[in-house]
Symmetry: C2
Subunit: 334 residues, 2 copies
């Protein structure tokens, strides 16, 4: 087989079939996918969650992950934010003519590894190939289906006055890793993307409390965008304390150099939880037992004042409004 | 609002929210989507179908449709090939910086119209923006969920010796429309893409027979690829008669000029059905009652000879093997 992707790999003909059989199925094979029907079938009942996300990260390989791991974790995490147990994923690839088959295999290997960790199965997929210069290497769109346990009702519109705001760990690791790769920032060489599947963390939280009100992973737009979205959806104010928010030294240094604020930087393995105050301590303790939540902390609370706004008590004392980020400093971060 | 898409529309911040609220929701609004949670939830039970497809068609607007209509119809049709009633779709867009907001609105309008015709609801979505020159205008990936009625078991591996092969209408209309746009072929100016949602056609077929064995829409790779896939999946031979296959004059003329074979050309509103011979006539009559099936015809049958092969009795008499198409003559056809 050629070592580069040709337009004919997207033709629907012989080479398309070869690509599926020699490059995708060796990594993703399972009885449903292997049928190669145009749609995959499965049994389900009850309340389900559906999500989709496109991934266009540049570079496609980075410390701590690659576009394949990112796609699986991102979709799994979006399902987990509704309290769903992720079950089945679809995978759609848009590939630039000339992309390397061996790099595609590396991506498939990390998709396999991430899907195994999250215990999800890819049951259907699609591949398109576009002419050289009409896409950049590889774009992946994943969709996911999960089942929501009975009694779970988690939504961005469920925050209540008095609730506590928990953050599962340090912020900015993913975004600063990507920008450091692009800009060649040596001092953040030790930094890795936090890209991780958080579905088991969420399942563990649900084990100890039925009073999780909102969950959201602070990806594009960072913690600032996520908290603003939740404040607006629930029509409440959110007050956070800057000093409580964990930020790694490498992230701080890079942000200072680049004039960025860590609360605007994307994360791919963190969760924001807004929970009943009575259950906050036991939920926090449970999060800290999971390897992806060991640095979790309560960063603030929900207030009846300032509906739709996020207020941060700064390290120096005064409070300031945390706006939705405007403009675009870091394109193709995920 | 600016009339072009900026990188900041993909930032996850203010402009991302603006794009969703001012460009997507006016066309797609419904109670589930409007929640704007990271995943959408719905109730379901029984056997479900999941499918996904990326759309990269060039040009994005063409006679008979555009990339938005194509995405909705393609996903609806892939669900229909399993006998499923399509219910919910997800929509993920990758947009090139500089793309026109008014063109995006045109695409959203046709998504709305196609979704209404097919009676499906878009309940979740995502938008990414990439730098100018890193994608070509607009790529759309849709996934879909459908419910499969009890007792329905349709799969590419279900063809049986003696079954009849029905084709729902003329072939090559979509592919030749696209290539004519690109090449400026004047004589095929009257031709339109056949792009259409076929879920109701399939539902009507299921009303008159429970003996539909295989359904597949002959998209990329055309009728040749679809019949080869079905022959291989079912490990049977398929014999078709060239004289029975409807091909419009414009398609014939363009194929002759370009050295193409209509059976290799993509369709977006046709269905191939392999059905029990006893039910073939009543299924055919039912298909012909639907506006998308009025030119339907039985084109051949399934044989125990030549397992995995497709044989065509040509107009001139002798038979020939119809291979899977090789190479890529028409990139970005869907």
């Amino acid at each position: 087989m050629n070592d580069t992707i040709l337009l004919a790999h997207g033709s629907g003909g012989k080479l398309s079939r070869d690509l599926v059989e020699k490059t995708f199925l060796p990594f993703l094979s399972n009885p449903v996918l292997d049928k190669l029907d145009d749609s995959a079938t499965f049994e389900a009942s009850g309340r389900l969650a559906l999500t989709t996300d496109g991934y266009v990260v540049n570079p496609i390989f980075f410390p701590g992950g690659d576009i394949g791991k990112l796609a699986i974790c991102g979709t799994v995490n979006d399902l987990a934010t509704s309290g769903a147990k992720p079950m089945y994923l679809s995978l759609s690839a848009i590939i630039e003519e000339g992309f390397s088959v061996s790099e595609l295999e590396r991506v498939m290997q990390s998709i396999k590894t991430a899907a195994e960790e999250a215990e999800v199965t890819i049951i259907t997929g699609d591949t398109k190939v576009v002419n050289r210069g009409q896409a950049d290497k590889l774009f992946i769109t994943t969709s996911g289906i999960g089942t929501i346990p009975a009694g779970v009702d988690i939504s961005g519109s469920n925050a209540r006055v008095g609730d506590k705001v928990i953050l599962s760990g340090s912020i900015g690791d993913h975004g600063i890793t990507i920008i450091s790769q692009r800009e060649g920032l040596k001092f953040s060489m030790a930094l890795e993307s936090d890209c991780a599947p958080l579905n088991k963390l969420v399942a563990q939280m649900l084990e100890v409390s039925s009073n999780l009100h909102c969950l959201r992973d602070p990806t594009r737009g960072g913690l600032a965008a996520t908290l603003n979205e939740l404040a607006q959806q629930s029509n409440v104010g959110i007050i956070i304390e800057e000093i409580k928010i964990p930020v790694k030294e490498e992230v701080k240094a890079a942000c200072e150099l680049l004039g960025l604020d860590p609360i605007h930087i994307a994360n791919e393995g963190k969760m924001v939880a807004i929970v009943d105050p009575g259950d906050a301590d036991k939920i926090l303790a449970q999060i800290k037992r999971n390897k992806y939540g060991k640095d979790a902390v309560i960063i603030g609370e929900v207030t009846g004042e300032y509906p739709g706004k996020v207020i941060m008590k700064t390290k120096l004392g005064p409070s300031r409004i945390v706006d939705m980020p405007s403009g675009e400093l870091l394109p193709r971060i995920c």
